[in-house]
């Protein structure tokens, strides 16, 4: 009796406390002290943009530093930022006139020396920047006079402005030479709209409005202080948002966003992103002989997964199913590729033809959205492919792939918000560490596309590469991502599809 009673009351207790979350009334006090509190999900390696690979790092870099040019997120046009004008001298030389009178946060004057120093540093292989591909299209950089520089490329590189706008922030040469990447990571100094007040590595960043910010295309910042804490758990982020501890959270899962939308204190905005999810397979057998060296097996995977159901039920928002190995809006991306509709019977048939009538068991790798990885695994299990999940951090998975492991997995790529196929297809199919297709022809087409300035030539070559990738089912592209931005009603903010959160565009209502 006593026991039954205890259990009942326990059940009641837990049910009672847990079931009703109740109305969400909070006095958000953050507008009053002009401080926007927000969160990062990932502990970033460093604030120094060149020595990290996270979305969070890109976001920080846009606040702290400027690039030579700026891509207007609404129009997609390139406008001058640290540069005022530029022109192609020939196919491989791009000349920039720099803006005069700009000062870094520490008072250092900005001029050509800063640009030359930063770029030369980043392209020097001895410095081991984290993502060499952001800069290794640059052969050299040269100073013509105090406010003129020339960028030389190995071969024509049509995406140069795109790369320069987001992936090459300019550092103060004297300061960087003195403190190096470690110092820059701890006390970053730039020209950007926000200067860094404090950095606790990986966990807490405080930005202050830079009063001396130049009148560039980013506009003047409005909110005085941005306080960013790393809260890796989305659930804790929600708890903070609901209890008034933070004002803005992004990347909120669809289910939560749906629930939060009903709150009168919060604004929920869904915006598409350039990120796509895909299943990669070890077609070339880099990691040893495996079933995916057989094309029919790869195609079976394509037919096994109900991508539309995943989009409708798990991704929701503005996500769409994608068939080519790129985001539809990217220059060079095409829809004219072979598609694999959801057809488990055909998948099983293909597996039988390939010699796996009873399927097989294999390791499967993933690093984010575990529920989606699980959903994919369940679809695969239905046709006989037993996938054993290995859930790693991205850096660990990437390392594994460079060592030819982890050939079968669910991965995603956000193209660093670069609206060009060279930022995705060329990243993964030109015999790099994460290329498991190793198709010479694909590489040749991509090279041709990457190095031509003729839009038509580029499109033709990229199409060929993308069609081959789809035909051979090297990748099974799944869907595009969307991001839910949830913020308090006090915040005035319009998210953009490039998944870059611009604090300098925000203001209080």
């Amino acid at each position: 009796m006593a026991c039954v009673k205890m259990r009942n009351s326990l059940l009641k207790l837990s049910a009672g406390i847990l079931i009703a979350v109740g109305p969400l009334n909070t006095a958000f006090a953050n507008k009053a002290d002009d401080t926007l509190r927000t969160t990062f999900t990932k502990e970033i390696e460093s604030v120094d943009f060149y020595f990290q690979s996270a979305r969070e790092g890109s976001i920080l870099s846009r606040q702290i530093w400027d690039g030579l040019v700026f891509r207007d997120p609404k129009s997609g046009e390139y406008v001058g930022n640290l540069a005022t004008s530029w022109k192609w001298i020939n196919d491989t030389t791009l000349e920039f006139k720099l803006r005069e009178g700009i000062k870094f946060h520490n008072g250092e004057d900005f001029d050509a020396d800063d640009v030359v120093y930063t770029v030369s540093f980043a392209i020097n292989p001895d410095n081991h920047v984290t993502s060499p591909s952001y800069v290794n299209w640059i052969k050299s950089i040269e100073k013509l006079d105090q406010y003129t520089v020339r960028v030389h490329t190995d071969s024509p590189f049509p995406a140069a402005l795109e790369f320069l706008s987001g992936l090459v922030p300019i550092y103060p040469n004297e300061y960087y030479a003195e403190v190096g990447p470690t110092g820059m990571g701890l006390k970053p100094v730039g020209t950007g709209p926000y200067k860094v007040e404090s950095v606790e590595p990986g966990k807490h960043f405080v930005l202050k409005k830079f009063e001396g910010y130049h009148d560039g295309p980013k506009g003047q910042p409005s909110i005085g202080t941005i306080d960013i804490r790393t809260i890796p758990d989305i659930n804790t982020q929600m708890a903070e948002l609901l209890s008034g501890g933070v004002d803005l959270v992004w990347g909120v899962p669809a289910d939560l966003a749906e629930q939060l939308a009903s709150s009168s204190d919060l604004t929920v905005v869904n915006e598409s992103t350039m990120r796509i999810g895909y299943v990669t397979m070890d077609a070339s057998g880099r990691g040893g002989d495996n079933p995916f060296t057989n094309r029919e097996v790869r195609q079976a995977v394509g037919h096994a997964i109900d991508r539309q159901a995943i989009v409708d039920n798990l991704m929701k928002g503005s996500s769409v199913v994608v068939h080519a190995a790129c985001y539809p809006s990217q220059i060079g991306c095409t829809k004219e590729v072979e598609t694999y509709d959801f057809n488990p019977a055909q998948a099983r048939e293909l597996l039988t033809e390939a010699g796996y009538p009873d399927g097989f068991s294999i390791d499967f790798y993933a690093y984010r959205e575990r529920p989606i990885a699980e959903a994919i695994m369940a679809y695969l299990a239905d046709v006989g492919i037993k996938a054993n999940l290995n859930y790693l951090k991205y850096s660990a998975l990437r390392d594994l792939q460079t060592k030819a492991g982890g050939g079968f997995g669910f991965l995603t790529w956000g193209s660093n918000s670069i609206n060009d196929v060279s930022a995705i297809t060329s990243q993964f199919f030109k015999f790099g560490g994460q290329d498991f297709a190793r198709d010479e022809e694909v590489k040749a087409w991509l090279d041709a596309g990457d190095t031509s300035v003729d839009e038509e030539v580029r499109k033709k070559n990229y199409s060929k590469a993308l069609q081959r990738i789809a035909e051979e089912a090297y990748w099974i592209p799944l869907f595009s991502y969307n991001s839910n931005y949830v913020f308090t009603k006090d915040v005035d903010f319009t998210p953009t599809p490039d998944e870059i959160v611009r604090f300098f565009d925000m203001s209080w209502k």
Binding site: A2, C3, R7, L10, L11, S14, A15, L18, I19, V21, D233, I234, N235, M238, A239, L242, P253, D255, L256, Q259, D306, A309, I310, D312, N313, L314, D363, R370, P371, A373, E374, A375, M377, A378, A381, N388, L389, N390, Y391
Partner: protein, 299 residues
């Protein structure tokens, strides 16, 4: 008048140790409660396929997060609702009991064998053997269990076997400590000396003279370590470095339900209560067994 004391004496004498044990057993509510829950969970695990016709792995993305029966909008075919992928929660809970019990039992067996061997050897032989065993116990205690298990699982991948092996090889310390001191207490007793005197082999002495007298303690520690292992597995799975999805581990269920805990709290309440009750039951059973077999140590 004169009969009564005699009768009493007789009745005292006729109480066999077994009867006394039974009397204590049934008078101990904690033990009974623990046993009852444990039997229930074991039965649920064993007969899971009979109790539900749903598969714990079958997903239905169009029927996600259906609420359990006591809430509005529930679906009679999913008594405890469905999870984020539309998998039947009852089926996952029942099959999850298998995982928890399997981990608890096998871990306790592995660590029991290691710890008992070490503890008995130390207690029986004393001297250098004891010194070495004490040293090993100290080393083991100094290693932070959670971190070391996390690290090993991260290096070798998370599978049921690895989690069981890791925990089995880490949780033997209490066995060793308890066995060592229990054996020390009895090794000097007369019957052990008698066995030595008549020339019994060491193996024989340990197996037939020592072990039967320390088995009670062994069982008590075993229950505690079972509970410990179940909780640790849940914690590791919760941190993402334990049993891997889609295995229906209760810790994993809590971890997966956590994302929606603010709006669908039952997703973590159900496996949380299941885990709590199972561990509570095993602990009560262990405490009860200790009280019953060694009432003087109660407390």
């Amino acid at each position: 008048m004169t009969d009564t004391p005699t009768q009493t004496v007789e009745s005292i004498i006729t109480v066999t140790p077994g009867a006394l044990l039974r009397r204590r057993l049934f008078g101990h509510y904690g033990l009974l409660f623990g046993l009852a829950i444990l039997v229930l969970v074991a039965a649920a695990a064993l007969f899971a396929p009979l109790l539900t016709d749903q598969s714990p792995y079958a997903q239905d993305l169009s029927a996600r997060m259906k609420p359990p029966f006591w809430m509005a909008g529930s679906d009679p075919s999913h008594l405890l609702g469905t999870d984020q992928l539309g998998r039947d929660y009852l089926a996952r809970l029942l099959y999850g009991a298998r995982i928890s019990l399997l981990i608890g039992t096998v871990t306790a067996l592995i660590s029991g064998v290691i710890g008992t061997a070490l503890g008995v050897a130390a207690g029986y032989f004393g001297g250098k053997v004891d010194l070495a065993a004490t040293f090993l116990i100290n080393v083991r205690l100094a290693l932070p269990v959670v971190l070391v298990s996390l690290a090993i699982v991260a290096l070798f991948g998370g599978s049921l076997q690895i989690v069981i092996l890791v925990l089995g090889f880490l949780l033997w310390d209490r066995f060793a400590i308890v066995m060592r001191s229990s054996v020390m207490q009895i090794r000097g007793l007369e019957y052990v000396n008698a066995a030595k005197a008549i020339g019994c082999s060491k193996t024989r002495i340990v197996l037939s003279e020592i072990m039967p007298n320390v088995i009670n303690n062994l069982i008590v520690v075993m229950t505690l370590e079972m509970a410990h292992a179940i909780l640790l597995e849940a914690a590791l799975s919760f941190l993402g470095l334990g049993v891997q999805p889609p295995t229906p581990s209760w810790g994993l269920m809590i971890s997966e339900g956590k994302e929606m805990m603010l709006f669908q709290p039952w997703l973590i309440t159900i496996p949380g209560i299941a885990l709590f009750l199972l561990v509570l039951a095993i602990n009560l059973l262990g405490d009860g067994l200790r009280d019953v077999t060694a009432p003087e140590a109660k407390g």
